[in-house]
């Protein structure tokens, strides 16, 4: 049993959850595409909107392993609370002969995305941190010599597989980068395109397209309201336009792997639903 404080003005101030461990950590890893594996867990996120429906939200705290012929790259490090889960998942993969971990790519300097970087670098002494590594010396000063700065457009070679660092369209911290796997055309969108799912509804560990009942627009709006404060204060259309250019022109995307949302296997259809949530939030705050 775990007690959670509930924010907002719903009148609900707390909720007790009987089975807090019933999250995606028990179901993952899952292969999203050849050489792209989904790891990590969920974070329970009781929103007033969800509780009004009698439901408790989850938000993924996902990690992705991209493996070429020679080496692997980890996108994000997982939440500190998930360390044992992530470590166990990785150990099982490497014991099964997945190419060794050479790169760890924390998409940005936030606990949810980078909190396990020190643990990972110590556990995998051959690995190096890559990405926009400004600020990371402040957190892991003893590991500063194992960090390589990357800019938008830079890439690393995993062996017959190139991973590219791309501009983040939706972000919180300014140094955020997204990633792109050229081989399977997977976009790793960090905080972008995030939305929750519901506890007890067997939503965990599934693609968005496997959950036709999932109210993606509503859940997108809730996620943005709580996680990306600025989205209620500015016009979202230029960002949607940039996102569409990125996904449909610059980097052809077949799969979207968000740190916090269900993976998307049909971008052309599902992105419209996500964009609907962005627009609904903008309309609610009267900024379109």
């Amino acid at each position: 049993m775990t007690d959670f404080y509930v924010p907002g003005d719903s009148g609900v101030t707390g909720v007790t959850i009987a089975d807090p461990e019933n999250t995606s950590g028990r179901l993952l890893p899952r292969e999203l595409a050849p050489g792209v594996t989904w790891l990590g867990d969920c974070m329970l996120f009781p929103t007033p909107q969800g509780l009004k429906l009698g439901k408790l939200e989850h938000s993924y705290t996902a990690v992705f392993l991209v493996s070429g012929e020679d080496s692997s790259l980890l996108v994000d490090t997982g939440h500190p609370k998930d360390w044992v889960v992530v470590r166990t998942q990785l150990d099982a993969l490497f014991e099964a002969s997945v190419p060794p971990l050479k790169y760890i790519f924390p998409t940005h300097f936030e606990v949810t995305h980078s909190g396990n970087l020190g643990r990972l670098l110590r556990r995998f002494p051959e690995a190096r941190a890559v990405g926009n590594i400004r600020d990371f010396e402040l957190i892991f000063p003893d590991l500063a010599g194992r960090m390589d700065h990357k800019e938008v457009g830079d890439s690393v070679d995993l062996g017959a597989r190139r991973f590219v660092f791309v501009d983040a369209v939706f972000k919180d911290l300014v140094s955020t980068l997204w990633g792109y796997d050229e081989k399977e055309q997977v976009l790793f969108s960090s905080d972008g395109l995030g939305f929750g799912h519901y506890h007890g509804d067997e939503h965990c560990g599934k693609f968005a397209e496997e959950l036709p009942e999932l109210p993606i627009p509503e859940l997108t709006g809730i996620f943005l309201e709580y996680a990306l404060y600025w989205t209620r204060l500015k016009d979202v259309e230029p960002h949607i336009e940039r996102l569409r250019k990125l996904v449909f022109e610059d980097y052809p995307v077949r799969l979207i792997a968000s740190a916090h949302g269900s993976p998307v296997s049909d971008p052309s259809t599902t992105m419209e639903r996500i964009e609907g949530g962005m627009r609904e939030l903008a309309e609610r705050y009267a900024i379109r």
Partner: protein, 279 residues
């Protein structure tokens, strides 16, 4: 990066509130410091004291871990409460784990649904074998108060000039407003100076605007009226004598506080006007 930190906590009001931490040479390697900006980056945490009881506001970044632990130990506290203004960011929670292990921490508070024990532990590879934390973890709402002693409480407020979920904290006893990652626009002029008074305040509107657009890049094209209204409300309601940010110099004295509040307000207004955003 080279850390320079005093051995002892820096008194803001002797016996009542101290700044912890130090400065680092930013070398354009810190995302919230504008490129090429002269000076050194302050990294602060704070502790309010009543006798041997302490209430700490945030814990700063691991690069200043040793300094902060030493400074705290020098205060001779026998009971410590920690309030995390942004548990999701390292400058808030970065040293909580170490402080809880080395000092008599009784309670850690974090915002909303972020249980502190889930966010603070990131150092050991085998946390399942670590001793269970002995402190009590609590979560606060956006307008709660937290007690240091029955006669001294601090007020929390849901910040509107922010990036992520963030609380500002006000201590009426000393008139100190703890602004977390906001009001972090003044770099240290030298490695040892973290307090700005009327005598050494050379901040310009351009400095403030440049910092805001670096730290809070989202402000470009955004409505800034909610943030400005929030500032107006806070500085009207509270008699602020010192502004204490995590990442910039401490702004000391009513005159300096009034000037910097006006600078931030004007910078926010200019950002909106330049982009043609209707408030």
């Amino acid at each position: 990066m080279e850390v320079v930190a005093p051995h002892a906590a820096l008194p803001i009001v002797e016996g009542k509130v101290y700044a912890l931490g130090g400065t680092v040479d930013h070398r354009d390697q810190i995302s919230w410091v504008p490129a090429g900006a002269p000076g050194f980056a302050p990294l602060n945490a704070y502790v309010l004291t009543e006798g041997t009881k302490g209430l700490m506001i945030d814990t700063s970044l691991p690069i200043v871990e040793d300094a902060i632990v030493t400074q705290l130990q020098g205060l001779g506290l026998d009971e410590l409460t920690i309030v995390l203004s942004r548990a999701v960011e390292f400058d808030s929670m970065g040293n909580a784990e170490v402080i809880a292990a080395k000092l008599p921490v009784k309670t850690i508070w974090a915002q909303m649904q972020y249980p502190p024990t889930e966010w603070c532990y990131m150092r050991t590879d085998a946390p399942e074998h670590a001793p269970r934390p002995t402190f009590e973890e609590k979560m606060y709402g956006s307008t709660d108060t937290i007690e240091l002693t029955p006669r001294r409480t601090v007020s929390l407020m849901d910040a509107k000039l922010k990036l992520l979920a963030c609380a500002w904290v006000f201590d009426a006893e000393t008139g100190t407003l703890f602004t977390s990652d906001s009001f972090s626009h003044v770099l240290a002029p030298d490695r040892h100076t973290r307090v700005i008074t009327e005598e050494n305040d050379h901040t310009t509107l351009e400095d403030v605007e440049r910092h805001l657009l670096t730290k809070f890049e989202w402000l470009v094209g955004a409505r800034t009226e909610p943030a400005r209204a929030f500032l107006d409300r806070v500085f009207t309601e509270f008699d602020v004598q010192t502004i204490a940010p995590l990442l910039g110099c401490i702004l000391e004295g009513r005159g300096v506080v009034a000037r910097h509040r006006a600078l931030v307000d004007e910078a926010l207004m200019r950002i909106s006007e330049r982009e043609g955003v209707v408030a």
